[in-house]
Subunit: 142 residues, 2 copies
DNA sequence: CGAATAATGAAAATATTTTCAATAAGAAAT
DNA sequence: ATTTCTTATTGAAAATATTTTCATTATTCG
């Protein structure tokens, strides 16, 4: 996702591309691994970026709602990673190292219909995560 | 789920059926709505049950891992409800009132195979939630 | 009844959310 | 471009929520 897309996405929703938000976006872009709010904060402080921890929490929430980042909850640890795809997709998460893979197929529409029929709900969203062991961790399992 | 099942489930996993755990279970059983850890705590205090808040958090985590309860995360609110089914299943959650419906079908096995083929992961678990508006809330939508 | 150890609870440490006054981003007009 | 206006956003502090630590207690098993 480039800066242009970033800008347009925000404008459409009447959101402002503030400096703190941009800093967080850049930091995630440069990161090798998923980052926790605290790690993000420390990393920006180290670079002398002026930012409040509260803004980090708020921006990450926002980014998540925009499908820009994925929130990885592993036990009591919470980390975020930038998504390659800005549109709806699913994930697979390693129970050992926490690596997150992206699944770029999503043909769950027939399911939604089934759900509506059996419950009367109007389905507007869904979330599907798979958990397992990635190639690297699979051999290490005991 | 009756007390007998409760006991057996615990014994199998070398878990102990402590008094705090049983109190929490009973409280959830009697509740009309999903409860937050805090609500659970206050409710037990009111009944003069001696219990620590820490135990509530720990028990709920445990119950969740045993598929005995479902953790409902709605924005920043966290609540728990007892599950009717003790085996693997999925949920549908109302975006308006938070009502949680149980879906007792789960034929996602072919998906897991697809995921393994495309990512190399060994899939051991998955979670699928649908979100929408329940019968009651659907007409109220603006 | 013990012995072994899973589980508890109080307190401390962290993490997250809320509140609210101050600031800054974007739009419109000049 | 510059100014002005509107209001989305920020950050500090306070309020909550959650997790960890660790010495003590309670369950279960033999």
């Amino acid at each position: 996702m480039n800066t242009g897309l970033f800008k347009r996405l925000f404008k459409d929703k009447n959101l402002r591309m503030s400096h703190p938000r941009f800093l967080i976006y850049q930091e995630l872009l440069g990161a090798q691994n998923p980052l926790s709010p605290q790690e993000l904060y420390q990393s920006l402080l180290k670079k002398r970026r002026k930012i409040g921890l509260t803004s980090i929490y708020r921006s990450l929430d926002l980014f998540e709602s925009l499908n820009m980042v994925f929130k990885i909850i592993n036990g009591s640890s919470v980390k975020y990673k930038l998504c390659e795809l800005k549109d709806h997709h699913h994930h697979i998460i390693c129970r050992s190292c926490g690596h997150v893979g992206v699944l770029n197929f999503c043909d769950i529409s027939s399911w939604s219909k089934k759900v509506t029929e059996s419950t009367g709900y109007q389905v507007v969203d869904h979330q599907l995560n798979f958990y397992g062991f990635c190639k690297k961790c699979k051999p290490l399992q005991k």
